[in-house]
């Protein structure tokens, strides 16, 4: 389940401050421990900002659920019922990835198959971007974080 503390990690596109920890990778169902909490991605990068939905009884916000028990995530990956059986299974969700609970948004990018755009191309693209759409997609908090991150890297203008 999502906690207040985790909310800072969610929503829209991440603004990475440092290189991504390469040790955090998507886990297979055989690697999950029943009573350990994990972060699960389902629709991250695909659903609009503010998207809230449940998978079974677990709440996903913006395509992310935190603190999901390993046994629950395993059944999602395998498409089985909580008792391990496959009868009366009328739904199946395609989980993007099950990650260690410490995973942050910058880890989600590569794991979900989103390729980081070359910096020159990204810079050129900014010329034609719809700023209103960017604000809507990122959300106010992410926008402020981006502004502050960029401002801190720009020398102060001298009078």
């Amino acid at each position: 389940m999502t906690t207040g503390k985790d909310k800072d990690l969610e929503g829209g596109v991440a603004v990475a401050e440092k290189p991504v920890d390469p040790t955090i990778k998507a886990l297979k169902h055989t690697e999950l421990v029943d009573d350990e909490p994990y972060t699960v991605l389902y629709g991250w990068g695909r659903v609009p900002l503010g998207y809230r939905q449940y998978v079974d009884k677990t709440l996903f916000e913006n395509g992310v659920a935190r603190n999901v028990l390993g046994q629950t995530a395993r059944h999602w990956l395998k498409g089985t019922r909580p008792d391990g059986k496959t009868d009366q299974v009328y739904g199946k969700v395609t989980i993007q990835a099950v990650l260690p609970n410490t995973a942050k948004e910058e880890h989600f990018v590569g794991i979900t198959g989103i390729e980081i755009m070359p910096t020159e191309k990204f810079a050129a693209m900014l010329a034609g971007v719809d700023l209103d759409a960017v604000v809507k997609a990122l959300g106010e908090k992410k926008v402020r974080s981006l502004i502050e991150g960029l401002s801190s890297r720009v020398p102060e203008r001298r009078a």
Partner: protein, 377 residues
């Protein structure tokens, strides 16, 4: 035995099966008699219907029912939901989203403290009203020919019935998956096929499409849980938000899957657990933490399927709704109106009718209801 006696005997033998007829002896005897030269032609005619010139066998086809409707004819969504007049070109309503802006316990003050003033939070919403209409006509020649041919149907009434079925079909389609608010939406998206003249149905309003992404409708994708558990979970969430879900609409495929789940479980599926959907029609109910859900399966394809945003799977919805917050809003008349156009007005010898209804769907409290998504089947 004279000719008449033989005739009667053969007729009797043809009509009555013998107690034992080893080796098909009866038909062999009759066959032998039939072949004999003394058997007159008039009597052979009794046994022979192959000739079109004997005049012995006439079939009055026109006295049999000749019309079979090969499509879904039941539209429970339209039949069940309450109907009320619209208050304008679009129906307007105001939601009270909160009774107070303060935190819980914020009204507690000291004995001589200053009383805090506050207000509720309000939100104006509108619901479009669509015009559903179809024109029908039958030529005078068709009307006369059917009547004089003896066929037991009236083509005028048949066409009017078809027209009303079309309107009921389109209305149920719009109530379930109509999209008048998310431009560019297609049939295979959750938003539904965009039609600026239509209305917004359950699929979009209770989903996470742009215009309705912040209305707090409950959405749950089935994975490990079954339909029973998912419906009870969703209905409980709706009750916890302040509503009381009372009805679930689902495709017959979903209803079948639900019934399968109950095959070893009588607790929620006894004969006593039924409720009257419309007068004379009872449906099963499912008990959840704060009430009962009447389960209504919908024949036909009005429920539809779409591609789920999260993982691109093809899914269909089950809707659990609070009927106290849903109403079919109408203009002009709460049911179909038939306008008869004067014969010959357009210089064609025919009778014409326009069947229409102007209606929309008021989903006043999306946060009390929601949807369950399951893989389409």
């Amino acid at each position: 035995m004279n000719e008449q006696d033989l005739d009667r005997q053969l007729r009797y033998m043809l009509q009555e099966s013998p107690n034992r007829d080893e080796g098909g002896m009866t038909s062999r005897i009759i066959g032998e008699i039939y072949k004999q030269p003394f058997t007159p032609r008039a009597m052979k005619g009794i046994l022979d219907s192959s000739s079109g010139t004997t005049g012995n066998v006439l079939i009055r086809q026109d006295l049999e029912p000749v019309l079979y409707a090969l499509f879904a004819k039941r539209f429970p969504v339209f039949d069940r939901l309450a109907k009320g007049p619209s208050n304008g070109l679009v129906h307007a309503a105001t939601q009270i989203t909160a009774p107070d802006s303060g935190a819980m316990g914020s009204s507690v003050i000291t004995e001589i403290g200053t009383v805090p003033y506050s207000t509720g939070a309000y939100n104006r919403v509108t619901f479009p009203i669509a015009v559903f209409a179809t024109g029908r006509g039958v030529t005078l020649k068709e009307i006369a020919a059917v009547a004089q041919g003896g066929s037991p149907y009236d083509p005028s009434r048949t066409e009017m019935s078809n027209g009303m079925t079309k309107l009921a079909l389109d209305m149920q389609y719009m109530f379930l998956q109509g999209n008048a608010s998310n431009a560019g939406g297609t049939l295979t998206q959750e938003a539904g096929l965009y039609n600026a003249n239509g209305i917004d149905g359950f699929r979009g309003v209770l989903g996470s499409v742009t215009a309705f992404s912040a209305n707090n409708a409950i959405q749950a994708d089935i994975s490990s849980m079954n339909i029973t558990e998912s419906l009870r979970f969703g209905a409980t969430k709706g009750a916890n938000a302040g509503g009381r879900p009372s009805l679930a609409f689902m495709s017959l495929n979903s209803k079948q899957a639900f019934d399968d789940e109950q095959s070893t479980n009588v607790r929620y599926d006894g004969l006593q657990n039924t409720t009257e959907l419309i007068p004379g029609v009872r449906v099963k109910t499912l008990t959840y933490s704060d009430g009962d859900l009447a389960l209504v399966g919908l024949p036909g394809s009005t429920m539809g399927t779409y591609t789920r945003t999260s993982d691109s799977a093809l899914v269909e919805d089950l809707y659990f709704i609070d009927e106290s917050a849903i109403c079919i809003r109408w203009l002009y008349s709460e049911n179909f109106t038939v306008l008869q156009i004067p014969t010959g007005t357009d210089a064609v010898l025919s009778e014409r009718w326009i069947i229409f209804m102007m209606a929309g769907l008021e989903i006043a409290a999306p946060s009390f209801m929601g949807k369950i998504r399951r893989l389409a089947s």
